[in-house]
């Protein structure tokens, strides 16, 4: 059952990812990205990272993608027109892509150390409590540095949005 769900949602994630690139309209692409994120959230849930799954939905699929969709709607961006491609790309595009992916997967298989296969349900450190403890003890410095980084980004956005300096 776990393996079936994994393959189902992995397939959905990949299909949405391909759809994201293939679609011409920005809204369709944005919604495909939401599909990718939702499928990833289910994969997190299968691995036992329940808090990560919920955060993925709330922050990425909810807040960030709503802003994407909002901006696309606000600018009223239309579908992009596709130029006719070069004969080189038409003939060699798909074979070259398949070759590239095969090389990448071979390199990952060859270079990364062999680890134990993932067992569904084996990981239990995904609760909100466990993540909070880790975040405020072991990973306190990266956490605080990230928050400072976000603060700088907010200040930058405020400066850019001001009418006159």
């Amino acid at each position: 059952m776990d393996a079936f769900l994994f393959f189902l949602f992995a397939a959905i994630a990949v299909a949405c990812g391909i759809n994201l690139v293939v679609q011409t309209h920005p809204i369709s692409s944005a919604l495909s990205l939401i599909g990718v994120m939702g499928a990833l959230a289910v994969l997190y849930l299968l691995l036992g990272a329940e808090f990560m799954a919920a955060a993925q939905m709330i922050v990425y699929a909810g807040a960030i993608m709503v802003l994407f969709v909002f901006v696309i709607m606000l600018l009223n961006a239309g579908a992009e027109t596709r130029k006719s491609r070069a004969t080189f790309a038409k003939l060699l595009g798909v074979p070259a892509l398949i070759g590239f992916l095969m090389t990448v997967s071979f390199l990952i298989q060859a270079l990364l150390p062999r680890t134990e296969p993932v067992k569904f349900g084996a990981f239990t450190g995904g609760t909100a409590q466990a993540i909070g403890k880790k975040l405020f003890t072991e990973y306190l410095l990266p956490f605080e540095v990230t928050s400072v980084l976000i603060l700088i980004a907010i200040l930058g956005a405020v400066v850019l949005a001001r009418k006159e300096i």
Binding site: E50, F51, A54, A61, A63, V66, F70, M73, A128
Partner: protein, 407 residues
């Protein structure tokens, strides 16, 4: 197998009750609004307009569903589906009452016992923006687009104070499961003040409750924050181009969302299904309430001066129904009855208190609609970013400090 059958029965029951409630909420809303404005409200269909929701439903379903020619068809049809599906998903993690044991099966009165229940509701409500935004965009109509844009801006903005407000009861409860939160709030201070989080002795959550309710009004697009469907500026906002069943889907989604968010507020601040009064009195309250309602209905039905002719027949019928409900709630005192009946009688009391609190919040929604005018859009944004958000942060910090000192 047993689990699947029980879950299916519960799902069917919840869906039926919820959709009926959503339909009758419209009737209640129209009646209450009418009485606030010194009118009578729906009166023609059935006694006191009680069959109005049914006739509305038949009308909406049998009307021709027009799909305008210039719309983006796929997203135009996806939007109402998303809206109603997400609204129904989020109710599935809300518990309605304590554990019940029936015919040897122990089961909880909820669809899914999820230990991150609140996060699930937040995730689903974050997704429900897309229903409105997509509907507005796909309609290819400037008013719809403006409605959709307003709605997404408003829902992102008000999600922040709402999340901050619901974090502070979580700090006290130290869990994300709605069931455990509700169970934690049982008992009384000094014998009569309920231990709800709104009255919590260490850190009373009154401010958090008020902030949560204000944000909840905005999240469900209700007056005074119903800018996305402001009829005098945007015709009907995001659902201008929708008709027939698609319109009904948006309509249902709005009312189901209201019910869900009221249930969430009940669990977080008002003690879930825990009674408002200490035990010997608490069990008598529903019996007295329904018996009193039955007597009142019989009294008015028997009066020969009844100006509404049908009341002579309909009032006693509803009186009998009310007496029947009073009888159901007194089942747990009749110890000679078989065990399943006693179990049902006992399990209905928590459900009564839960329903009463949710009903009170829903009534507040309607009351506010009859009282307050609509905000302007810039006022709406300024209110949340410059007032509600800072206040929510301050109250969260205060609660966190108190909880940290208390440990």
């Amino acid at each position: 197998m047993e689990f699947i059958i029980i879950s299916l029965i519960k799902a069917a029951l919840v869906a039926f009750v919820l959709l009926t409630l959503a339909a009758y909420l419209v009737w209640i809303e129209r009646k209450v609004l009418a009485h606030i404005q010194l009118r009578i409200g729906p009166y023609r269909v059935g006694p006191h307009g009680l069959l109005q929701p049914l006739s509305d439903l038949i009308k909406l379903v049998t009307k021709e569903g027009v799909i305008p020619s210039q719309v983006n068809k796929f997203y135009y049809l996806l939007a109402p589906f998303l809206a109603v599906a997400l609204a129904l998903i989020s109710i599935s993690v809300v518990p309605f009452g304590a554990q019940i044991e029936l015919f040897g099966y122990k089961t909880y009165l909820e669809l899914a016992n999820v230990n991150i229940g609140i996060l699930v509701i937040l995730a689903v409500s974050a997704m429900s923006v897309y229903g409105v935004a997509l509907g507005g965009w796909a309609s290819n109509n400037k008013y719809s687009l403006l409605g959709g844009l307003r709605s997404s801006a408003q829902m992102i903005s008000y999600e922040l104070p709402m999340s901050l407000a619901l974090v502070s009861p979580l700090l006290i409860a130290n869990t994300l499961s709605l069931r455990e939160i509700a169970e934690m709030q049982s008992g009384f201070y000094l014998g009569f003040i309920p231990k709800w989080f709104i009255f919590n002795a260490q850190a009373p959550q009154i401010f958090a409750f008020v902030i949560f309710m204000i944000a909840a009004f905005a999240e469900t697009n209700r007056i005074p924050f119903d800018l996305p469907e402001a009829e005098n500026e945007l015709v009907a906002g995001f659902h201008t181009e929708y008709s027939s069943t698609c319109f009904a889907a948006f309509f249902t989604a709005e009312y189901v969302n209201m019910v869900t968010i009221s249930a969430l507020a009940t669990h977080l601040y008002l003690g879930g299904w825990n009674p408002a009064l200490p035990e010997p009195v608490a069990s008598v309250v529903p019996i007295l309430l329904f018996a009193g309602a039955g007597l009142l209905l019989f009294f008015h039905g028997m009066q020969t001066l009844a100006t509404r002719t049908w009341d002579k027949y309909t009032f006693p019928v509803f009186g009998v129904v009310a007496f029947g409900l009073a009888g159901v709630f007194s089942l747990k005192y009749l110890t000679f009855l078989p065990a399943p009946l006693l179990a049902i009688g006992g399990a209905l009391h928590p459900v009564f208190w839960f329903a009463a609190k949710v009903g009170a919040i829903l009534f507040l929604y309607i009351w506010v609609r009859g009282t307050l005018p609509r905000f302007r859009f810039d006022q709406l944004m300024r209110f949340t970013w410059t007032f509600l958000f800072p206040v929510a942060i301050v109250q969260l910090l205060a609660t966190g400090l108190i909880v940290a000192l208390g440990n």
